[in-house]
Symmetry: D2
């Protein structure tokens, strides 16, 4: 049994982590912190998560010094970026593995991070050691890392559907334009306290952060990396769906050299990807991609349509933002770090 | 008082028409038909529309011959395309004005219509007489027409936000990619009977008709027309929002010659448009565009962001699909046809 | 034209009042206040209410002294109880008519008010002059009043369905138990700022104020009055529906003397009531009562089932809490006060 | 490993059963049937349930004769009443255990069944052998039964909150009036095909089956049984919530002999019940009962308020209708039948 602590366990992602880990046969949750629920038992604070495994487990305050972190094999940080920046390097130094669910360690270039997050990066050396945590793309680095930067939810939805494009030379494609849509648990505050008001979300739809979303640089960085084109760029715009859970991503990718492209070859690449990867599913018809088909699962569903008249490739993908977009992939990363079967507690 | 009949008055659009016309001081509704509600009084069939103005009004069956249409000054056809194809020309010939809310008379090229609608167009001469019914773009033709082709809801959302681009030479822009999102009243069946099941819509999000939506050709036709570039094309993909009413359109437009473009000039063009047009509102910040701000109104809200790094223009717009996207613009067209103030019963 | 001011015009009820009055041919809105929107034009603050009638109208701060209230014929107070307590008597003294939408003047017994509202009643003499504002029950008093206490939303839903019971001697019935359900606009805070979080309402259902809701005493008071039994009591428990607008009330009334009761006689009483009252509709089948049938209308729909095995009468009723439960009845009361047709701007 | 078959595995309850059993360490699902999905693999038909455990599992047609049922240790019948009536007795005779999720074997008196279900009961002898499947009330009978009648969802919500009343003599209470509210998965059709239309549920609230719901007799039967008063009766009225999953029950119970009753004693009884029963939780404050606190869990949350002025006891309870109201309790019953820990795969 590996001992695990969770900082920020009371937020939407923390709660989903607790739900998943309650089924994990190799994990014992030894510590949970939450500023909102500190002092309450898990059963009292979050009655829907009450379970035998967690009998006696109560929320603590966030520790105020590294000495006050209970001994553990791994810490999940489901905390704001600035909190993760503080603790992740110290926890790693102390010999614990860390899976950071914030955005603090996803972007390798500290200057890009600082521009996107409007936050000084005070641990640039930890940045360099962090493995970007999409297992389907970066499994080997994750396996040997001490610090895993769990990917952004929009980033997972985008990158897993873009990855099969790497079967083509990078110059095949123009700049992808990504139109993302998320339920409130992926788009609003991280906790109910910070949450969006009912009357502003229900029976309403809108774009947000049109001028630029902080997940865009990490999508760009990884896309450029697997396409083998450091100059590759893209544009991402998020929207808020009047529902709780789920992300749908519609990516529009101009095909710059149609003579090099065929939809059959792309589908073959996607089929291979899905065949190789337990949590990737490839559909031939993009109309079949729906958030409810991935709800409460760790799957990423991907599909493609090629509009040959306009040389435009349309990629549609869906994930559950709290699962494959946050807690699910975090558990998948934990399984990799500890050498457990990757699907443990997930499938 | 002008006498008005409505074919298909029991569907979502027909109901909204009835709601609007109940406040119209110059209109008397003399005939309503519905296959679902035939034989029932309006008050019994649709209790939310019960009103003094409609006392005694009952739904009839659709007439089976042109002789059985009661005398009127204007007919709204809120009917399937094939029904509109049958009756619109005969009603016009009889001297009635017709506002057709189906897609039957929007596309001037019958071959394009037949491909998009998978339906033989048996009234191509009526096609040529029909005026495409977006008043802000085509007011003069509407005013003198006998047959108005009320625009598609997605088309109105798209075209009203693209129109200010006509301040630039057409070669300024590459091909727009339109990502549309609609509530169920604009995306599902036209009536509750045909409607989508609760468990398939609620807490779910998906794209549909990714291979091509029948509104795309009419958007393309009008866009090409006002840009003065017959070859101009575009791509449109719709999505279904788990809510009832409202459309948000996000348009991505590559700026092909950045040296000819400035966001200030576009905003000036949009400001002028909004200043001139009672039902167009221009916001500087696209994050402020929300479907609830246009709910139950005839407004189209438009806004722009220019990503100068990627030479990408993003246009966000919102309408109420049942109002500016259907019944509202239909009443606006009626007001134009009869010379009433354009905002009568709408503002 | 009568000149009208609205205090607290930015809340859910205030917004609905503005929507209704924009269609009222005899009313000019001369003043609106809102602590949230003070200084903003109505069009900027609430774009869905933008209209020609309100061009130039801007939100002010609440006046800080009676001298600073602009001259008007009538004031709506859509304000917290304590604010209404302060201004209503002073406005009346100044010769203005007042329709108070708070709970401040509904309960004739100040001690009962103070217990229910946990608030000292500092205007008990105004209490005695106030007319309880359900027109269908209290029209004559309203017509001659200076101060109308607009009824609570739950109270309207309950009392309009209980009123037909007055055709029987009071001893016919035992104590009614009222189970009320409301959308968030009737149950949460009065404004979006105070509103319930999306994640706490969506896909959730709960009772609230089970220990006692402040509308219970006014329902009891009026029920006792029209039943002619000062000792008559009842019990009311509210619930929160995950939607925005609408109230459904299910009332369980033991029939104490079945020999005096017949469902036919009750239905006759309800039919007569509905025949006499424009805004009351009586259905024979309670399964037909739905909040959407009254949505955006001023109707109260009522229906009854008698379980003769258990001598239990079940009354089901529905209103739109923002219309018949607040702004709609407020406009109806205004029409009565000024001698306009009662349905003006409502039907 | 016990082998389990599920008839009607494609409906809402069948899907939840599959979700739960995928975590059950002692169960192997060997057969699933569905008229809608016959011939499809589970992964294709219901992508959200795709899992390693179910690799290779496909939906069959319902068997047309008892010989065609694959060998198994237990069958779940998540089928219409008439289908369960046909197969349950034959499966039992063949030596299989059966958990019937329909209403076919819940009511011991065939005449009462036939009146409530408008269906001839052609297996009255099986009726007598069937154990009513609320473990907290009837565990011993379940343990030794071959046929378990899984309880109705409303019935579980009602009975688990009424059970602590059995600490008092039956004459303490008058007739309970139960006001139930359910999401669509508990109230509409059993499958998406039969489901309610979005536009009829969303932003709407209504009562249904006000004249009598088929769960009422089973609630009455069990209530009379544990109260030790064969004449005890009650009245139940259901309502439809615009959400998917969850039931809230508000029970109003007149206290006939207040001198025999105390809320403290009732709370003690409820505390004891909750202490004894893993899946019952007792709250002191009924305002804390919410469907989301039991969402995706097998808990029943119960709470009480006593209005001493009116001698009225109010019991509020919540369950997840698909879990404690259907699939969860079915798995709990399976665990009992096979002697597994009762919480296996549930907590």
């Amino acid at each position: 049994m590996k001992r695990v602590g969770i900082l920020g366990a009371g937020g939407f992602t923390g709660q989903m982590l607790l739900r998943l880990l309650s089924h994990h046969p190799e994990i014992s949750v030894v510590f949970i912190s939450s500023s909102e629920y500190a002092g309450k038992s898990l059963a009292d604070a979050l009655p829907a998560l009450d379970s035998i495994q967690y009998k006696g487990l109560s929320f603590s305050m966030h520790p105020d010094s590294i000495e006050n972190f209970p001994d553990a094999d791994l810490y999940f940080l489901a905390t704001p970026d600035s909190v993760s920046l503080t603790w992740a390097p110290q926890l790693v130094e102390r010999g614990y593995k860390v899976i950071d669910i914030s955005g603090a360690f996803r972007i390798q270039d500290a200057a890009v991070f600082e521009k996107a997050y409007k936050l000084k990066h005070n641990a640039p050396e930890a940045l360099l050691q962090a493995a970007y945590g999409i297992p389907e793309i970066n499994r080997n680095r994750i396996a040997s890392a001490s610090l895993v930067a769990n990917p952004g939810c929009y980033a997972s939805a985008a990158l897993l559907s873009l990855y099969p494009l790497s079967a083509f030379p990078p110059e095949t494609f123009g700049m992808p334009v990504l139109d993302g849509k998320s339920g409130t648990s992926g788009a609003g505050g991280r906790t109910e306290k910070e949450a969006l008001p009912f009357s502003g979300v229900y029976e309403n739809f809108r774009a947000y952060k049109v001028q630029g979303h902080q997940h865009e640089p990490e999508i760009r960085q990884e896309f450029a990396s697997f396409m083998g084109n450091p100059a590759a760029s893209l544009r991402f715009t998020p929207h808020l769906i009047p529902m709780y859970q789920g992300i749908l991503m519609t990516a529009y990718i101009p095909v710059a050299s149609p003579e090099n492209f065929s939809i059959e070859k792309l589908r073959k690449s996607a089929d291979d990807f899905a065949h190789r990867e337990l949590f990737v599913r490839h559909y031939n018809d993009p109309n079949e991609i729906e958030t409810r088909k991935v709800r409460l699962t760790n799957f990423a569903d991907i599909s493609y349509h090629y509009d040959s008249e306009h040389h435009l490739l349309i990629a549609v993908s869906a994930i559950d933002n709290l699962m494959k977009g946050a807690a699910g992939v975090a558990v998948q990363n934990l399984n990799i770090l500890f050498g457990f079967p990757e699907e443990m507690a997930l499938l």
